[in-house]
């Protein structure tokens, strides 16, 4: 049965206001962790600038490029980045790691280095198996709850919104009566609470912001706006979640009385520390700009403030020095990482550091077998999912497995394993109906679906579904991606908006999930059974599979394939547009219609070097790529920036 999400009037009004706020005050979309969210879907639900419609028109182009200085290690110089909006109120940033103990915060609008840090310590010589250095992407705290579907177009939001009630005007008073006071018009400007104007006629309104962005309404069944989500950390913990969903979107749109003291985020665990924001908190001029967690080469975790890059918490040892570490992820005030390859003497396993207190307790789970593949993912109930690659499993150890761990204790909850099933991608988690599903790719070119609540079934070795081979030959897709179409089924006779939601608030929106797409990057040739639908494939392609649900029985059906893309890495999805990156020898970006695979745009020859690993991310209505020579490229619509 398809899921129908009901967005409350208040929540949608808040989201609308936030969207208007976004249009007037910059694109609100954020990318808080590698893969865009805790489920590692690589999917931004909506965006006011990017859509299939807007990408079908000219205008998406290079906005800036910035050369960063860091020495590559193992052929990789830059990590994927994470993004945040509203730093010191108005600045959107990307936090990106450089391989040689460096981290930068770059202004997403201009490429200006907002701050940079270089961590002390001597790094060992890099090897292919153990490159060392600082290649683990940073993370912010991500929301466990997936963002809801949002129906609507969006794209090229531009200068819509703003003041309701008319434009410039003139009047004159009678002699001696002074200047006429305009009826119903107050100020505006920063003295009057920085209101972007009444959320009236939205103009060229885009869809409300995406998951992780300010003001996106909570999903049906989720806690009401502003309430802490299930499992919210106790007061005293650092700000929760991405600076996104729920809570104070409307407040974010209009809050910030002049001169009002903000509520600075005290150091986690410190007396009087600000309570958890709950649900991500959303905007609000009084709020602190947030934290980013980065791992130095010596295995020390740093908690940096976005405004300055300063260590807000005392740095603490997280993993052994010089380990090979996956991209970090933060959930519920715990930062997680996976170590692989036994580099630096670190055992293969999963690590967790509780950053909510000064104790900074570290917990770990060792595979005693294979290396974790890529990064871990989370089910909405907090269950940690990891893929484990090949190896010799000691007694009680795991290899060729998908494991489910308790997020607090890292105790094993469940597992799937088959001796001849070798995983080659990190896990992706999604909810279909009332089930949470894991998708992961295997070396033989297939994709498996497993149920989080019963990995492998009773015998821990039976997948829910195993696809036919998609790739021929060896493949290492790294990670999968996913997105789902959203269908607005609000009836024409929908009730009018709640007056309490403010003038111009949109009526309640009913959304149902449409086709769900699983995106698989395939380098090399496709399997024989896979039909190329957008031109012949010789070097590689993005393969989109439809997730079908037949009375609760899930499967993957053929969807579309992209044009030929050499060495594609995991694609990103922004508001139904699939962005793919060809790694090299000269990196090239593509945009495809997410429902058909039709090519909408390419970067052509703009990028002049190979991609640095998986340095590819989205946020603020743009996509970014880092190349081996340390250059970051940002592509987007001009938004009158120049």
């Amino acid at each position: 049965m398809r899921k129908i999400t009901i967005c409350t009037v208040a929540a949608l009004a808040a989201a609308t206001a936030a969207a208007l706020f976004a249009q007037g005050r910059g694109n609100p979309t954020e990318w808080p962790t590698t893969g865009g969210d805790a489920q590692r879907t690589y999917w931004t639900r909506s965006d006011p600038n990017v859509s299939n419609e807007s990408m079908s028109q000219p205008g998406f182009e290079l906005q800036w490029k910035r050369k960063l200085t860091t020495a590559a290690r193992g052929g990789v110089s830059l990590s994927p980045a994470v993004t945040v909006t509203g730093v010191t109120l108005f600045t959107p940033l990307s936090a990106i790691m450089g391989a040689s103990n460096d981290v930068w915060a770059l202004d997403n609008d201009t490429g200006n280095p907002f701050w940079t840090r270089h961590f002390d310590g001597t790094l060992p010589a890099a090897t292919a198996a153990c490159p060392g250095g600082t290649l683990a992407a940073a993370t912010r705290m991500a929301n466990l709850t997936p963002a809801p579907l949002v129906a609507g177009g969006g794209g090229r939001g531009g200068a819509g919104g703003g003041r309701a009630g008319g434009g410039f005007s003139s009047s004159v008073g009678a002699p001696g009566e002074g200047a006429p006071v305009p009826a119903g018009r107050g100020g505006g400007g920063r003295g009057a609470a920085n209101a972007p104007g009444a959320p009236g006629a939205p103009g060229a309104a885009g869809a409300p912001p995406a998951a992780g962005a300010a003001g996106a309404p909570p999903a049906a069944g989720a806690p009401p706006a502003g309430a802490p989500p299930a499992g919210a950390p106790p007061a005293g913990a650092p700000p929760q979640g991405g600076r996104g969903r729920g809570g104070n979107a409307a407040a974010g749109a209009g809050a910030g009385a002049p001169g009002a003291a903000g509520a600075p985020g005290a150091a986690p665990g410190a007396p009087g520390a600000a309570p958890a924001r709950g649900g991500g908190g959303g905007g609000g001029f009084g709020r602190s700009s947030g934290l980013v967690y980065v791992l130095a080469g010596d295995g020390v975790l740093h908690t940096l403030g976005f405004p300055s890059g300063k260590d807000i918490q005392k740095p603490a040892t997280f993993v052994p020095a010089n380990a090979r570490v996956s991209d970090l992820i933060g959930v519920n005030n715990v930062v997680y990482a996976a170590t692989s390859g036994n580099c630096g003497g670190a055992p293969n396993g999963i690590w967790a550091m509780d950053v909510s207190s000064d104790a900074r307790t570290v917990t770990s789970w060792k595979t005693n077998g294979g290396s974790p593949i890529g990064s871990v993912a989370f089910a909405p109930d907090g269950t940690l999912i990891a893929a484990v690659g090949p190896g010799t499993a000691a007694s009680g150890g795991y290899a060729n497995a998908i494991v489910a761990l308790d997020p607090k204790t890292l105790q094993l909850k469940d597992w799937y394993t088959q001796p001849n099933v070798e995983f080659v991608s990190s896990p992706l988690v999604f909810r279909e109906g009332d089930k949470d599903i894991v998708a992961a790719a295997t070396k033989d070119g297939r994709v498996l679906l497993l149920e989080v609540g019963s990995l492998g079934g009773a015998n821990h070795s039976t997948p829910m579904f195993a696809s036919k081979p998609i790739a021929s030959g060896a493949w290492t897709p790294g990670a999968l991606a996913m997105w789902q179409e959203a269908i607005n089924i609000t009836p024409a006779n929908a009730p009018p908006p709640d007056p309490a939601a403010g003038a111009g608030a949109a009526p309640a929106q009913l959304v149902t999930g449409g086709t769900r797409w699983l995106l698989v990057p395939v380098a090399g040739k496709l399997a024989a059974d896979v039909t190329a639908s957008n031109g012949a494939v010789t070097s590689g392609a993005i393969v989109a599979l439809k997730v079908t649900n037949d009375g609760g029985k899930l499967s993957l059906a053929p969807g579309w394939t992209s044009r030929d893309v050499a060495s594609p890495i995991t694609p990103l999805v922004v508001n139904g547009v699939v962005f793919a990156a060809s790694a090299g020898p000269t990196a090239t970006l593509y945009a495809f219609n997410g429902s058909t695979g039709k090519e909408l745009w390419t970067s052509g020859r703009t990028i002049t070097g190979p991609l640095s690993g998986r340095s590819f991310w989205a946020g603020s209505g743009q996509v970014y790529a880092g190349t081996v020579d340390g250059t970051v490229y940002a592509f987007g619509f001009a938004m009158e920036r120049k």
Binding site: G24, R25, G26, V87, T88, L89, F90, D107, D109, N112, G158, A159, G162, R163, G166, G167, S169, S170, S171, V172, E177, G178, A179, P180, P182, R185, G186, G187, G188, G189, R190, G191, A192, G197, G256, P258, G259, A260, A261, G262, A263, P264, G265, A266, A267, F285, R287, S288, S289, G290, L291, P307, S308, K310, I312, Q313, K314, E640, R641, K642
Partner: protein, 532 residues
Amino acid sequence: MHIRKFVVAALVVSGATLLASEYLTEGVDPARTGWLKDEKVFNTTNVRDMKLLWKVKLDSTPREMHNLFSPLIAENVTTANGPREMAVVAGVSDDLFGIDVASGDLIWKKKFDSTYTPPAGGRGGGTLCPGGQTAVPVLAPAGNGQYTIYAISWDGRLRQLNLADGKETAAPEKFVPSNGKPYALNLVNGVIYTASAQGCGGVANAFYSFDLKTKKASIFQPAGGGLWGRRGAAVSPEGVVYMGTGDATYNPTTRQLGNGIVAVKLDANSQMQIVDWFAPPNANWMRARDLDVNVSPMAFDYRGKKFLVGTSKECRMWLLDRDALGGEDHRTSVYTTPLLCNDDQAFDGRGVWGSMAAWQDARGAQWVLVPFWGPVSRDFKAPIENGRPKGGGVGAYKVEQVAGKWRLNPAWLSDDMDLAEEVMVANGVVFAYGGGEDASQTVPDKAWNDTGGGRNGGGLDSSATRRIPGSRHATLYALDAQTGKTLWSSGTQISSWNHFSGLTVANGRAYIATFDGMLYCFGVARPATAGR
């Protein structure tokens, strides 16, 4: 309290003066060029010996971070005690002070009565909306050594007073709504102009005009953000009134003119009507980053062209043609400079916040001077650089034609200043000052090992309670107008700072007021035949 300090060597005689320099309006002239064309005392030689002549503590109560505004100077005022050179200083708490500039003596003080009663126990509007009197008045000669002060009191009424004795010469007139934030007054052809900002007190952000003859007051709302150029609206020789607009949508289709420069003019009915406008190509992006067009534009004519120069927190300058502001699409400048400062494109503590100057030297070169806050842009280069400012400075440009196209070409860069605010030019000397306030509007991060422990900042806090303790002191500078070289600095002589105040120069004296209520007068020896 009255503190007095005389320079013994000053030659002061009574009698007729040959100084001929007055400062009747903020920014020297209606076009707000900041150019004291008539200055005869200061020069690049004697300014090196400028000294503190006197300082006087005025009984003015601060409101939020505001206190005293820049004085206006009239050279030859007929008073009961003979002709005097006088200053009038506005205080934010609805006061005016009349001062004998020869001695620093307070001659009179006027506290406005008010028809506005602030709510008892209510919270004020904060730093951005201090309430009180916020507009620098304007002086007008009334004949026979008489001068009329025009001011707007807290209740929004237009006041008219005699400079000689501070007595009101006419009944207060209703002008703008009360408790707003009007900026420096301009008086042209019998019409007072001002502009308001921040939506303080619910007052519309708008141009306002008052026709002294018809007593009609007009309002023009650009449907943008606040109009908060420090020197108020500029008026061109053609009588067109210009002002930048703060953060709001720019959309001419819906007649919204945020983040632009708007031009209006009075019609035959004493009503302001729109004449033209300019919005930079990145106006809506500037809005997204809160980079208001917050500086009073300047109008000047050069080689037959009618120019207007504007700038903003973004920190680049637009050279515009007054005959076609922004060209056909209203978005095309004659020339737009690269960034002078604010590489971070921050909304606070960086950018241009004060007032520019424009002047022509004896060789016919047209200059534009721009004071800025924060570090100079890493990409800005000038042929003469006296430093690479970190806290602020002055950038000087020449208006030149290159291959038939007009440009603003960098000429020199000053040394570092603590938030360079306003500039004026007098006889080859550039006067500038650093205000020294804490201009930050967000809570800063604190590292875990800083005093008080770790704190994640970034949230809005422009409160006076946070910023006042962190403010430093103002510093006055005199620079060589051709090279930007510092000829003189007040050093640490000024103990306090100021916020949204100004600088006055006239007749060999430079005046600056600070938050603690002090008015400073620095100056040089005057010619023996000079007046008091």
